[in-house]
């Protein structure tokens, strides 16, 4: 399994039956492949529906039915179409159990930066600020470092997407929970030593006695 698969498989365990979940573009979209059969989650697409189904066959593509990344998708029975106001009522109003997003930087206070690099790259926040601000649980799912650059910091240096909103960080190296005391490494991937994980993390990691292997 490559890093992305490890991360997606672990994220999939975060959900319980009936959860309403928004998955960011990229890595998070792999998560549904790993969800237990007896757990049914409702996937929310911020451009205006719940019940995202699998990607359509090439000859079944419907130009009117795309996800928030603009890619063709399908809708499952029980899915619902709505407008952008309702879509963000769901997000901002606290009706989303979890959102899973990538990050450029995340820090030990639970701050998250993923919408711009001043002077270099400004894609915009899209729905990310709403997702980070509104979801009950904000899960950052990403590779632990980016080409050697550290991304889990003591303090984000890039403009924030949300302040103190991240609940959990899941990487190929482990699972970190944001707590009032700081970042707690609750699970680690035994392919790495704790020293390797600490070296790949600028933030201080609290290692609890009951740390588990990541599964």
């Amino acid at each position: 399994m490559d890093a992305k698969e490890i991360i997606a498989r672990r994220v999939a365990k975060e959900f319980k039956d009936g959860d309403v979940v928004n998955l960011g573009i990229g890595l998070p979209t792999l998560v549904p492949n790993y969800i237990d059969e007896d757990v049914e989650i409702i996937l929310h697409s911020e451009n205006g529906f719940t019940g995202i189904g699998p990607a359509p066959e090439a000859d079944q593509i419907d130009p009117n039915l795309v996800n928030a990344g603009g890619m063709p998708v399908t809708i499952i029975p029980g899915g619902v179409f709505f407008d952008s106001a309702m879509s963000f009522t769901i997000i901002r109003g606290g009706h989303l159990d979890a959102t899973v997003l990538g990050a450029l930087q995340v820090d030990e206070e639970g701050n998250l930066a993923n919408w711009m690099i001043p002077g270099k790259l400004v894609p915009g926040m899209g729905g990310a600020m709403d997702l980070v601000g509104g979801a009950k649980k904000v899960i950052v799912a990403m590779t632990h470092t980016a080409k050697g650059d550290l991304k889990i910091l003591k303090k984000c240096t890039l403009p924030l997407t949300g302040a103190k909103k991240v609940s959990k960080i899941i990487t190929e190296m482990g699972v970190m929970e944001v707590t009032p005391e700081g970042l707690v490494l609750t699970e680690y991937n035994p392919e790495y030593t704790l020293e390797q994980i600490k070296e790949a993390t600028e933030a201080d990691l609290i290692i609890p006695e009951n740390i588990r292997e990541m599964c």
Binding site: S45, E46, N47, G48, F49, D62, P63, N64, L65, V66, A68, G69, G70, I75, F81, F82, D83, S84, A85, S87, F88, I91, R92, W115, L121, V122, P123, G124, M125, G126, G127, A128, M129, D130, G133, G134, P159, L160, T161, G162, A163, K164
Partner: protein
């Protein structure tokens, strides 16, 4: 009142310097014929309010590439490199707004409300310079209502009175924008007789719509 007009007649309403709302999400549910007519007319110095700047060759993005927009108010520009380039060169003003905030601002403009009190963006760069209100101990940003001179929306089925049905994920910002402009033009994929649409399936009452053009 006859609302169905030619694209030429509808486009004649749009003048240099106007503020225009354009529906769609990454060009899904955008009024593409009207956008092409704007390109052909060459109207300039537009302020465009939309979810995103689409692509260089699709959706709102075409009006960015053509240089007809002097300002865009959107949530995302990452799928259209020209937006970023023109912004960096100082040729285009870009106001980035969280998607859910943008939806509520447009809705507020249509609903006669003064603005939106949202928790989204507190503690991030977008909060700078904006009024913060503390209500029952929680902090909210005051984001002002948005209105436009003209809204260009796209409807899947439109009856001759301007009642609009949006299919699947084409709905997005369209029904919100239909309420928030002085002059609303809907580009209809299909025009139907009055009475053909189920009155429960009409998502924009015809009273909001001034003119209908055929897609």
């Amino acid at each position: 009142m006859k609302k169905l007009v030619s694209i030429e007649e509808a486009i004649s309403k749009i003048e240099d310097g106007m503020t225009i709302m354009i529906g769609g999400f990454l060009a899904c549910g955008s009024p593409n014929k009207m956008i092409d007519a704007l390109l052909q007319k060459g109207v300039k110095d537009l302020t465009i309010i939309g979810n995103d700047t689409g692509f260089i060759d699709r959706g709102i993005g075409k009006l960015v590439v053509s240089g007809q927009a002097k300002k865009v108010i959107v949530s995302h520009i990452g799928t259209n490199k020209e937006t970023g380039r023109l912004m960096n060169e100082g040729k285009l003003e870009v106001v980035l707004v969280p998607q859910g905030t943008l939806a509520e601002q447009v809705r507020a403009g249509g609903a006669g409300l003064g603005g939106v009190l949202t928790p989204i963006g507190v503690g991030t760069p977008i909060a700078e310079g904006k009024d913060h209100l503390i209500i029952d101990g929680k902090t909210f940003l005051l984001e002002k209502a948005l209105r436009a001179d003209v809204a260009l929306i796209f409807g899947s089925k439109v009856d001759e009175k301007g009642n609009v049905y949006y299919h699947e994920s084409t709905r997005n910002f369209n029904p919100l924008m239909a309420t928030a402009a002085d002059f609303v033009i809907v580009e209809a994929e299909e025009v139907v007789k009055v009475g053909e649409l189920d009155p429960h399936l009409i998502m924009t009452p015809g009273l909001f719509v001034k003119q209908i053009v055929k897609a």
